[in-house]
């Protein structure tokens, strides 16, 4: 699936075929997750429609500020990972490592803050069995949390590649693609769970 090519929008007629970032297999995985999450989003919206007052009241118990900070943490993490890939492509592996470490640090920040948020909710008696909204809240954020943890493991694999100073370009891009997917899934979860009324 991989092929080299230009990265700009203006392409000459004899340009190489457009490429797929990473390789085809990571995009199969990404689209698989997109389908799974969109099915979950539709299930959430259907349940929400059946009991809108309960969902709106329960949503008010979530802390939007924590949600925003978590969003900013993942966005910043994504930026650092994207810059790391750019630096690696420019063969500046030392800088790429620093950016990647920054990206992982913001990802760990997300994990810590999300854990604190769950702890606060549970200590207030808001658990998976409280009502339909909190069932969806824990399931959706829990599934996403698992993706974040897996993403951190993948970033560690990328870190080792960079540390060896002989990174395989597609490995960096695969890791980055997965991490950005984790970012955009959270953007959508944040809008659905925390913001819409």
């Amino acid at each position: 699936m991989r092929a080299s090519g230009m990265t700009g929008e203006n392409r000459p007629a004899n340009a190489a075929p457009r490429r797929v970032p990473g390789d085809g297999s990571i995009w199969v995985f990404v689209f698989g997750d997109m389908v799974i999450f969109s099915a979950y989003f539709s299930a959430y919206m259907i349940d929400r429609g059946h009991n809108r007052p309960l969902f709106v009241e329960s949503q008010r118990l979530l802390n939007q500020n924590i949600g925003v900070i978590n969003t900013l943490l993942l966005l910043t993490s994504s930026l650092f990972v994207a810059l790391s890939v750019q630096a690696a492509k420019a063969a500046d592996f030392r800088l790429a490592l620093r950016f990647l470490t920054g990206g992982a640090a913001f990802g760990i920040g997300f994990v810590i803050l999300k854990s604190c948020e769950w702890y606060l909710k549970l200590s207030h008696g808001l658990s998976l069995g409280t009502n339909a909204f909190f069932m969806h809240y824990y399931m959706m954020t829990g599934l996403h949390f698992f993706h974040v943890l897996l993403g951190l493991v993948i970033l560690f694999v990328v870190y080792r590649e960079l540390k060896a100073q002989t990174p395989r370009p597609h490995v960096l891009e695969i890791g980055a693609t997965y991490w950005h997917m984790v970012d955009f899934l959270w953007i959508l979860i944040f809008a659905l769970l925390y913001l819409m009324r």
């Binding site: 997109m34 969109s38 539709s42 809108r52 810059l83 630096a87 955009f184």
Partner: protein, 91 residues
């Protein structure tokens, strides 16, 4: 480091951060008005635009194969329409 911080990806991040804060303000507004289809549509639209930016800029879909661009955009349009339809149906 400086050239990397002054590149389009950093500007994209700044836009995404500002859009996140606008979404938060709209969320507060929706709360005050006991829900509003227009505010919810705006919140969803911002989320979809942010997702598209992450895909195109950070995931490099912007310069990727045409089928990949179309597949990402189709999913985003489907998601936006599906959520808005289910929201409006039971409002």
């Amino acid at each position: 480091v400086t050239p990397y911080l002054r590149n389009p990806m950093t500007y994209t991040w700044a836009f995404l951060a500002i859009a996140t804060l606008i979404g938060l303000l709209l969320g507060h507004d929706a709360d005050a008005h006991q829900g509003s289809t227009w505010i919810t549509a705006a919140i969803l639209l911002i989320a979809v635009v942010k997702t598209r930016l992450v895909m195109r800029r950070f995931m490099e879909v912007r310069s990727a194969a045409t089928w990949l661009k179309w597949a990402c955009d189709t999913w985003l349009v489907y998601l936006f329409a599906m959520v808005l339809y289910l929201y409006g149906k039971n409002f």
